[in-house]
Amino acid sequence: ETESKVHIVYLGEKKHHDPEFVTESHHQMLASLLGSKKDADDSMVYSYRHGFSGFAAKLTKSQAKKIADLPEVVHVIPDGFHELA
C-alpha cells in the first residue's frame, strides 16, 4: 500500500493551448493531492501536454484512487509495458 508506482493520470483533450499552462495545471493537481509543490515535483514523471492532457506520476494505490475520483480525471491506470513485435 505504501509503495509508490508509476500511474498514468489521463485528463482527455487539453483545455488550454499553452503547454506550459497545461503542465502547471498538472503540478497543481498533484500538489493538492500530495500536499506540497515539492512532493508533486518529486512524484511527477511526465506531463502530457501537446496532443492531449495528462501526466505520469509515482503514486501509492490510495493516492491513485483518490485522484481518480476528481471530476476532471477520465481515468487512472498503473503503468504497463509493451514489447517489440
Binding site: 508506482k5 508509476v6 498514468i8 489521463y10 485528463l11 482527455g12 483533450e13 487539453k14 483545455k15 503547454p19 514523471v45 511526465y46 502530457y48 501536454r49 501537446h50 496532443g51 492531449f52 495528462g54 505520469a56 509515482k58 476532471e72 477520465v74 481515468h75 491506470i77 503503468d79 504497463g80 509495458f81 509493451h82 514489447e83 517489440l84 513485435a85
Partner: protein
C-alpha cells in the same frame, strides 16, 4: 526490402507509379516509436533529399553517443524517453547499461523498422550473398523521426517499453508534426477490459488520429490461434504479416541421388557426401537414443560425431533449432536437418553451421531413405535465393489472428504486408547484424511496410483523413497474391486465408492511390463507436474535448462506418448502414455486387449509387439474414461497388448465433 517493393508493384524502375508520382514521399514525416536509430546507417543517408519540411517542429536530442548533428535531412528527429522505465526499474544502472542513454539504437529493431518505412536507396546489399538487391524503404524520400521509448534491460535479457514513456513519445510526436506514426510494439494478450480506451496506447493514439496523423500498429506475433490480434482500436491501422514471394532453397542430396530443397540461410561451404543418421535404438540394446531435436543431447556422442543428424520437432520456435545444433556440434556432428511444421522464422545457425529445415513430409522421406540402406549419406549445399513464382505467399504462422476479442464487430487485422525475413538496416550490436543489415521477421516488419505506403498515399492525398487511408488500402487490397494465386494461412493446418488472417488482404499500393470510393470516419464516427461500446458520456466528452451525450438506446456497433462488415451474433436479421464518399471522377455511377457468405442473405439498398458535383457522399443499407438453423462459425463473403473502373471491395464476415452468448465444445 530488396524484394518487398517489386513484390508490391512499387518498383523504382517504373517511371509512372505511386512512388515516382509522389517524389517518393518527400515532405511526408514518418514517426517511429521503438528502440532508437543508428544514424550512421547508409539507409539514412540524405543524398538527394530536399530541405526539411517547414512545418517540422521536432528536434534531434543529444545524449550518450548521440549528437544533435547526427541528424540530417532524412533523419530529421530523434528523441528518447526513459523516465518511466527508470521509475519502474529502480535498480537500473544507466552507466553500466549496454544500451545508449540517448536515441541511439542498441538493439537494432528500431533501425530496422525505420529503414523499412522510409530508408534511402542502398545498392548492392545482401545477407551473405542471399536476398541481394537495392535496399530501400517504402517511401525513400520521406523523413524519419525516431522516438526511443524502448530500452534493453540486461536482467530481462531483452527490450521493454513502459507505457508512460510511449505516451510521452506519442505526445511529442503530435507536437513535432509527424504525418504517419509507425508503432511495432504490442501489449499482452488476453486483452482485458482495460485495453480498449483505457489502454493508454489506444487513448493517446486517439488524439493523434484526431489530429490527422495516420497510426499504423503491429497486430502481434501470437498466431496462428484465433483472437490473438492486439492493437485493436478502430482508429488504428492494425497490420498482419505475410511471406514474400521469396525463399532460400537449400539443396539436400541423399545417397540415392534424390534432391530435397529445404529452407535455410546457410552460406557456408558445401558439405560433401557425409554420413547421415537419425538417432534411434536400431540395435535394441539398452542405450538411450532420441531423434527429437530438443533431446539430441541424450544420444551418445558416437551416434552423431562426424555425421549429419536428422531430427523431428513439434516446436514452432527457433529455440529448437539452435538447441539441436548445439547438441550436434558438441558431439562433433557436421550438420543438422530439422523436420517441423513451417514457421518461417528460420534464423541461421551460429558460425554458419549447416542446419536446414524441411517439413514433416520431406523429413519422413529422408528417414525412409536412412532406414532403407546400411550407410546413408547426404550432401548439403549452400542456400540460394529464389524470387517470384513458383514461390507462393502465405499469411505467416505467427501473425496474430482475428476476430477482435474485445469488439468482434470491428474487423482486425485491417491489412497485411510482407513481414518475413525482411532485409533492412540494423545496429552493429544486433547479433544478426551482417555489414549493418539483418533479416528479421515479425509483424514489426510488416507494419512499416504499411507506414511507407501510407506516406506515399499521404503525399498524393494530403487532405485525406486517417480513416480514408485505411479504407483506401483495405478496399483495394489483393485477396490473392499479386499474381492471382490463392493466399494460404499457416496454422495447425494450412487453410485459405480469410479476413481474420489478413483483413482486407495484401496491400496493393497502386490501387489504393485511386480507390474510387472511401468509407470515411471522423470524430463523430469514433464517438458512435465509443457510445456503442458502452463508454459513459463524461469519459467520451473528456476524450474528444466536447460535451457528448450518447443516444438512447445506444447506437449499434454494426453501424460504425468501417470498410468491412463483421456480424458476430446474427440471430435472424439485421440492417446496418454504411456511407461512401466519392474521391474519383465527380460524375460516377457505382453498382453493387455481393458475394454472400454461405447460408446468409444480403440485400443492399439502393443497388446503384450516383455521384455528381452536388452528391459527394451517399449512404446505403445492408440487410443481412441467416438461413442457418444452428450456431455456426464465421462464413465469409464480400460486398463490392464497381463503376467498371474501380472495384471497392469490403469483406463480409457473418456468424449465426441462434443461441446467443453460447459456447459449446462439440
Amino acid at each position: 526490402t530488396t524484394r518487398t517493393w517489386e513484390y508490391l508493384g512499387l518498383s523504382s524502375a517504373n517511371p509512372k507509379n505511386l512512388l515516382n508520382d509522389t517524389n517518393m514521399g518527400d515532405q511526408v514525416i514518418i514517426g517511429v516509436i521503438d528502440t532508437g536509430v543508428w544514424p550512421e546507417s547508409e539507409s539514412f543517408n540524405d543524398n538527394g533529399v530536399g530541405p526539411i519540411p517547414r512545418k517540422w517542429k521536432g528536434g534531434c536530442e543529444s545524449g550518450e553517443n548521440f549528437r544533435s548533428t547526427d541528424c540530417n535531412r532524412k533523419l530529421i528527429g530523434a528523441k528518447y524517453f526513459i523516465n518511466g522505465f527508470l521509475a519502474e526499474n529502480k535498480g537500473f544502472n544507466t552507466t553500466e547499461s549496454r544500451d545508449y542513454i540517448s536515441a541511439r539504437d542498441f538493439d537494432g529493431h528500431g533501425t530496422h523498422v525505420a529503414s523499412i518505412a522510409g530508408g534511402s536507396f542502398v545498392p548492392n546489399v545482401s545477407y551473405k550473398g542471399l536476398a541481394g538487391g537495392t535496399l530501400r524503404g517504402g517511401a525513400p524520400r520521406a523523413r524519419i523521426a525516431m522516438y526511443k521509448a524502448c530500452w534493453f534491460h540486461e536482467e530481462l535479457k531483452g527490450v521493454t517499453c513502459s507505457d508512460s514513456d510511449i505516451m510521452k513519445a506519442i505526445d511529442e510526436a503530435i507536437h513535432d508534426g509527424v504525418d504517419v506514426l509507425s508503432i511495432s510494439l504490442v501489449g499482452q494478450i488476453p486483452l482485458n477490459s482495460e485495453t480498449d480506451i483505457r489502454d493508454e496506447f489506444a487513448t493517446g493514439l486517439f488524439h493523434a488520429v484526431a489530429k490527422g496523423i495516420v497510426v499504423v500498429c503491429a497486430g502481434g506475433n501470437d498466431g496462428p490461434a484465433a483472437q490473438t490480434v492486439v492493437n485493436i482500436a478502430p482508429w488504428i491501422l492494425t497490420v498482419a504479416a505475410t511471406t514474400l514471394d521469396r525463399s532460400f532453397p537449400t539443396p539436400i542430396t541423399l545417397g540415392n541421388n534424390k534432391v530435397i530443397l529445404g529452407q535455410a540461410t546457410y552460406t557456408g561451404p558445401e558439405l560433401g557426401l557425409t554420413s547421415l543418421v537419425y538417432p534411434e535404438n536400431a540395435r535394441n540394446n539398452n542405450e538411450t537414443f532420441s531423434g527429437v531435436c530438443e533431446s539430441l543431447n541424450l544420444n551418445p556422442n558416437y551416434t552423431m560425431a562426424m555425421k549429419v543428424v536428422l531430427c523431428f520437432t513439434a516446436s514452432r520456435t527457433n529455440a529448437a533449432i539452435s538447441r539441436a545444433a548445439s547438441f550436434v556440434k558438441a558431439a562433433g556432428g557436421l550438420g543438422l536437418i530439422i523436420s517441423r511444421n513451417p514457421v518461417y522464422t528460420l534464423s541461421p545457425c551460429n558460425d554458419d553451421f549447416p542446419c536446414v529445415a524441411v517439413d514433416y513430409e520431406l523429413g519422413t522421406d529422408i528417414l525412409s531413405y536412412i532406414r532403407s540402406t546400411r550407410s546413408p549419406v547426404v550432401k548439403i549445399q549452400r542456400s540460394r535465393t529464389l524470387s517470384g513464382q513458383p514461390v507462393g505467399t502465405k499469411v505467416v504462422n505467427f501473425s496474430s489472428r482475428g476476430p477482435n476479442s474485445m469488439s468482434p464487430a470491428i474487423l482486425k487485422p485491417d491489412i497485411a504486408a510482407p513481414g518475413v525475413r525482411i532485409l533492412a538496416a540494423t545496429s552493429p550490436n544486433d547479433t544478426l547484424n551482417v555489414g549493418g543489415f539483418a533479416m528479421l521477421s515479425g509483424t514489426s516488419m510488416a507494419t512499416p511496410v504499411i507506414s511507407g505506403v501510407i506516406a506515399l498515399l499521404k503525399a498524393l492525398h494530403p487532405e485525406w483523413s486517417p480513416a480514408a487511408f485505411r479504407s483506401a488500402i483495405v478496399t483495394t487490397a489483393w485477396r490473392t497474391d499479386p499474381f492471382g494465386e490463392q493466399i494460404f494461412a499457416e496454422g495447425s493446418s494450412r487453410k485459405v486465408s480469410d479476413p481474420f488472417d489478413y483483413g482486407g488482404g495484401i496491400v496493393n499500393p497502386e490501387k489504393a492511390a485511386e480507390p474510387g470510393l472511401i468509407y470515411d470516419m471522423g470524430p463523430q464516427d469514433y464517438i458512435l463507436y465509443l457510445c456503442s461500446a458502452g463508454y459513459n458520456d463524461s469519459s467520451i466528452s473528456q476524450l474528444v474535448g466536447q460535451i457528448t451525450v450518447c443516444s438512447n438506446p445506444k447506437p449499434s456497433v454494426l453501424d460504425v462506418n468501417l470498410p468491412s462488415i463483421t456480424i458476430p451474433n446474427l440471430k435472424d436479421e439485421v440492417t446496418l448502414t454504411r456511407t461512401v464518399t466519392n474521391v474519383g471522377l465527380v460524375d460516377s455511377v457505382y453498382k453493387v455486387s455481393v458475394e454472400p457468405p454461405l447460408g446468409v442473405r444480403v440485400v443492399v439498398t439502393p443497388e446503384t449509387l450516383v455521384f455528381n458535383s452536388k452528391t459527394i457522399s451517399v449512404s446505403f443499407t445492408v440487410r443481412v439474414s441467416t438461413t442457418h438453423k444452428i450456431n455456426t462459425g464465421y462464413y465469409f463473403g464480400s460486398l463490392t461497388w464497381t463503376d467498371s473502373v474501380h472495384n471497392v471491395v469490403i469483406p463480409l464476415s457473418v456468424r449465426t448465433q441462434i443461441l446467443q452468448n453460447y459456447y459449446d465444445e462439440n
